[in-house]
């Protein structure tokens, strides 16, 4: 039974047009109208050297990330490690934790030793910590599906085990590995928070350059827009290559995983040590929230809660900032899920060129950073914009939703595509209306991707401070923007640093709570 797709696709496409295409068009229009900004980009040795450094930084980040991720993925593939799925999820957690956890965690762990690496080394190290877990998870998934029958065929044709793997599995898994490497490159090349806080002003990305041109005493919006246009072009090229690699990876023959031998002492020790490394930075943040000048204390928490405390951040209201963070996160999760669900249902009813076009349009926000989106919103919905959304909660919520939406869509669309339509037919002939089919069949069976999508959307909102830094006013500021604007990063005041640690710990616990709620929702569906 095929029904019309457009009534379902109308809402997500309208939101994409109004709150993604329009702001980006505003950036492009502003960039096109400022020839001097392009001349600055083309001729400034500062810009060219920073961009070259950003490119090198991203390559180094990929190399270090894969150097950790590949052995980790192989360990969990080649040996039956207890709680392997949970362990890999813990490794991937930094990717969704607020960037401050990585920054403060590494600073607290390594202290002055972090300086040894220099700003570039610190950024590369942070990017590797941020990305290795999710890269390992994706590589592990690819390894688990590797076509071993082909390796068997190579073996009986006379190839030794290693050669059989190198000549069959490796070329077949290359597109998947390439896609993972490209994603890490994209995230490192467009990194904002890590570079802003650990780059020490000596390492840049296009995102930090855009922000610096907006945030200075004399904002140069034209230059920011031209950098934004450049970033958009580069990201789109990278995204197209990623999509091509992902498509090739999807065509790779797959096989059900075969049981691996139980992990021995060495493998167990390695996996436990790796977990220790993964958990050390978040643990350091938690400890740092309760330590000032080498002593255990609640001083930072008192300073946060008590407005009369001498180290209290001016104008900070813990309840308001916390409430706003949670409110933005819940609303973002709801909106992103609703839009992604409409898109998934609409795409399930579409075919051919229509489906490909709509899918491509929905993927585009993946290639757009939060900072660029913030710039677009400032231009389209700022002074003289229609509508003028300056200082509103709505503009922040829309920006968060657009950042989270493509991730939510990528969780839901394949899940609904893979859903067995015969179950819907069976429910329909038993008397269930389409809305009942959605409630009684889809909702319980698609709980896992729904939970992942909701958890991701909430986590992105909680941790975002790219668009938020540009769009939030003092009375609409979430915890992440308070940390970024007024936190003690680089401060010599130990109480101010501890306050930042405490706020980061709160953000981290909120993010973990979002995933635990999502996990509970998923588990109930499995019951």
């Amino acid at each position: 039974m095929r029904r019309r797709a457009w009534p379902l696709l109308a809402a997500p496409l309208a939101v994409l047009a109004a709150f993604f295409a329009l702001p980006l068009a505003a950036v492009l229009a502003r960039a096109a109208g400022d020839a001097s900004a392009w001349a600055w980009i083309a001729t400034s040795p500062f810009v060219s050297s920073r961009l070259a450094l950003a490119f090198g930084q991203a390559l180094a980040s990929v190399a270090l990330t894969l150097a950790v991720a590949v052995p980790l993925a192989w360990l969990h593939h080649a040996r039956r490690v207890p709680f392997s799925r949970l362990q890999l999820a813990v490794h991937a957690a930094p990717f969704v934790l607020p960037v401050f956890v990585v920054v403060f965690g590494l600073q607290a762990l390594l202290g002055d030793h972090l300086r040894v690496f220099g700003p570039l080394g610190a950024v590369v190290l942070a990017h590797a910590y941020y990305n290795y877990g999710f890269a390992a998870r994706l590589l592990h998934a690819a390894l688990e599906r590797r076509p071993r029958r082909l390796e068997d065929a190579a073996r009986v044709l006379g190839a030794p085990p290693l050669a059989a793997g190198l000549r069959t599995t490796l070329p077949l898994l290359a597109p998947a590995a390439g896609a993972v490497a490209l994603l890490v490159f994209l995230f490192s090349f467009t990194s904002f928070g890590v570079v802003l806080f650990l780059g020490d002003g000596r390492v840049s990305t296009l995102d930090t350059l855009i922000y610096e041109n907006l945030a200075g005493s004399f904002p140069t919006t034209g230059r920011a827009a031209a950098l934004g246009a450049l970033q958009l072009g580069l990201n789109l090229v990278l995204l197209l290559v990623y999509v091509a690699l992902a498509r090739r990876a999807a065509r790779t023959p797959r096989e059900a995983p075969r049981p691996a031998p139980r992990a021995g002492f060495a493998a167990m020790t390695l996996s436990i040590a790796a977990l220790g490394v993964a958990l050390a930075p978040p643990a350091a943040v938690l400890v740092g929230a309760f330590r000032v000048r080498g002593a255990w204390t609640l001083e930072a928490w008192r300073a946060l809660a008590d407005r009369a405390h001498p180290s209290h951040l001016g104008g900070f209201d813990l309840g308001l900032a916390l409430g706003l963070s949670i409110g933005y996160a819940l609303a973002t999760a709801f909106l992103a899920l609703a839009l992604a669900a409409l898109l998934a249902y609409g795409l399930a009813r579409s075919r051919g060129a229509t489906r490909a076009l709509v899918e491509a349009a929905a993927t585009l926000p993946l290639g757009t950073s939060s900072v660029l989106l913030g710039l677009g919103y400032a231009l389209a919905f700022g002074v003289g914009g229609t509508p003028d959304l300056r200082g509103t909660y709505a503009v922040v919520l829309l920006a968060h939703t657009l950042v989270a939406f493509p991730f939510a869509a990528r969780a839901l669309v394949p899940a609904l595509d893979a859903h067995d339509r015969r179950l819907d037919d069976a429910a329909a002939v038993l008397g269930a209306k389409p809305s009942e089919v959605a409630r009684r069949i889809h909702l319980p069976l698609l709980r896992a991707p729904l939970a992942v999508a909701g958890g991701l959307a909430a986590a992105f909102s909680l941790g975002d401070f790219g668009a938020s830094l540009i769009l939030m006013r003092p009375d609409t500021m979430s915890l992440s923007v308070w940390i970024a604007r007024h936190g003690g990063l680089g401060s010599f005041d130990p109480i101010l640093r501890a306050q930042s640690m405490a706020l980061t710990a709160v953000l981290m616990l909120l993010t973990i709570a979002a995933f635990l709620v999502a996990e509970r929702f998923r588990a109930e569906g499995d019951a």
């Binding site: 039974m1 037919d425 069976a426 329909a428 038993l430 269930a432 209306k433 069976l445």
Partner: protein
Amino acid sequence: MTLAVRDLAFAHPGAPRLLDGVAFEVPRGRSAFVLGASGAGKTTLLRCIAGLETGYTGSVLWDGAPLDAVPAHARRIGFLFQEPALFPHLDVERNVRFGMRYRGLARRDEPEEARRLLALVGLEDKGRRGVDALSGGERQRVALARALAAAPRAVLLDEPLSALDRDLRVSLGERVKKLLAREGVAAIWVTHDADEAKRLADATWRLEAGRLA
């Protein structure tokens, strides 16, 4: 009380006609068989009758009243699919209870009715089982109990026994036919197994080139 099909034709978009001028009648309590090779359009014919395909021309009627504008969920025509399509997130009893609320049965009466239907198909002790723990034959019997639980006026059977071994296919086929006759349900079976049709059919037609012969 008769399920009737009049001059039914159907084509997938951009494809030649799969069904053309199909017409027949099946009274309550009777089992009619449609034979045909793979790809002859047997499944599509059943999907049109159930309302799962909506682009057909012609008419599907129950007791003379056209059902063409009635959506699948309101036609009260059950369907046994080739794969049983049991809901994997529900246990056996809750699968059987799925459609009861749409026929107006009170929630408190659902468990008892489910037990009655499971007893009818010989699975009274399997209500709390997960559907993944059932054998192929048990899965089809649960699907039959689930179809009957929605109190259908007709049931369409799309080669529901084809995945089973021969002995089970023969015994279960006879049991299902008797059950449908006892419940007074009009049944249309499609199959490519002429022996099965000979054994169980009250009437048999052959679907060739989209037409019934």
